[in-house]
Amino acid sequence: MLPVDELLVSDNIGPEQAAERSSDMRLVIQAIGQLTQAQRAVIELRFAGELSTAEVAKILGKSQGAVKVLQHNALLVLRRMLSDWGQ
């Protein structure tokens, strides 16, 4: 098991800030883990890969409209979960 704090936090910030940040990230990462496979793929590519909707659509073999719907639904789910968990 790898410590989340060690994975996610840069060496350049203070311990309190690091703890708070890793705690928030824990929640976000956990929330993303609850998405459907297609929703996760869209979120990964859009936010981590910094790809445009058109690029994501090409990679996933979907229409841009379908990607936008997946993105919207994924963010709604994330928002609800993060809200429920008190972030």
Binding site: V4, M25, G33, E50
Partner: protein, 298 residues
């Protein structure tokens, strides 16, 4: 119709915020009628973006700086090397025989020394030829699939090592990685009775591939982006197929298990989140890439 309009607006705002640096407020000003619905979604998006843009450790900074300049030329070269099918069988024998002869003449030293070579190194062709021979002399679909998985894992390690060393990543390494993964999946599809661990390795492999390629595609130049994007598309397809294979095995296991023993299969590298904030982390083979985009490990 109304929903489609909102999706377009949301997408435009996300582009402005995540790619152009606009603030949420600037976006909301542009769409006052949708502001109430947009704002909480955009705030969730910002959280996700922050989780994915963790300040990278030096290893990642080196990875991000990876130059991929020779990719296009190398891909053309690799395509040109493909032989006609009619010669393929004879060529396989010829390659096998030549390596066996080389081993007899030189001993295993050169082959062993080639194990750690990277694309572009003098001994790299020895490494890939040895791999082809290993495939040739490996019998049984599952054994062969495991070999292809191991080779695809090597390709990832090579890509990481090249990136760490700020060396060019030739396109043929990406296409070989995809091809080896596809072959392993094809073999698994042909034989429905693969071991759980083999399928778990496939899921781990494709998860790692996606992670590495997403990192690369986000930072590559436009010219190279197309090649990495194609590799990523194939990796995403491969991941989907690996997950389907895993689900198929899960269903078979569920049918065989008694109700008391009927609990979900968990795969180490694809850590499973359960309610109650339990996070299970096991990066396994993922190694250096673990510091980024941690949700791939979920």
């Amino acid at each position: 119709m109304m929903k489609k309009g909102f999706n377009d607006i949301l997408d435009a705002c996300l582009d402005r915020i995540t790619r152009k640096g606009d603030s949420i407020e600037q976006c909301l000003e542009s769409y006052p009628e949708q502001a109430g619905e947009l704002e909480p979604i955009l705030r969730a998006a910002i959280s996700v973006k922050e989780a994915s843009s963790i300040e990278p450790r030096p290893e990642f900074q080196r990875l991000a700086k990876a130059r991929l300049l020779s990719a296009v030329a190398a891909k053309s070269e690799e395509d040109g090397r493909r032989s006609l099918p009619i010669w393929r069988w004879q060529r396989r024998w010829a390659v096998a025989l030549s390596v066996v002869l080389a081993l007899v003449i030189m001993g295993g030293g050169t082959v062993a020394a080639s194990t750690n070579s990277l694309p572009g190194d003098l001994l790299y062709p020895v490494k890939t030829t040895t791999e082809r021979v290993q495939v040739f002399f490996t019998f049984g679909k599952e054994a062969k699939a495991n070999l292809y998985i191991r080779f695809a894992e090597r390709r990832i390690a090579e890509i990481e090592a090249l990136a760490d060393g700020e060396r060019n990543i030739p396109a043929f390494v990406l296409s070989r990685m995809n091809a080896e993964t596809d072959r392993a999946i094809a073999l698994a599809n042909q034989n429905g009775s693969f071991n759980n661990e083999t399928i778990a390795r496939l899921v781990r492999l494709t998860t790692t591939q996606r992670m590495i390629l997403v990192i690369l595609v986000g930072r590559a130049s436009l010219e190279i982006k197309l090649i990495i994007r194609e590799a990523l598309r194939r990796a995403v397809d491969a991941y989907d197929q690996a997950v389907l294979l895993r689900e198929r095995i899960q269903q078979q296991l569920n049918l065989e298990m008694t109700p008391a023993l009927n609990k979900p299969l968990t795969i180490e590298s694809e850590s499973v989140t359960k309610p109650g904030y339990q996070l299970i982390w096991n990066a396994g083979d993922i190694g250096k890439a673990r510091y980024l985009n941690a949700w791939w490990l979920l």
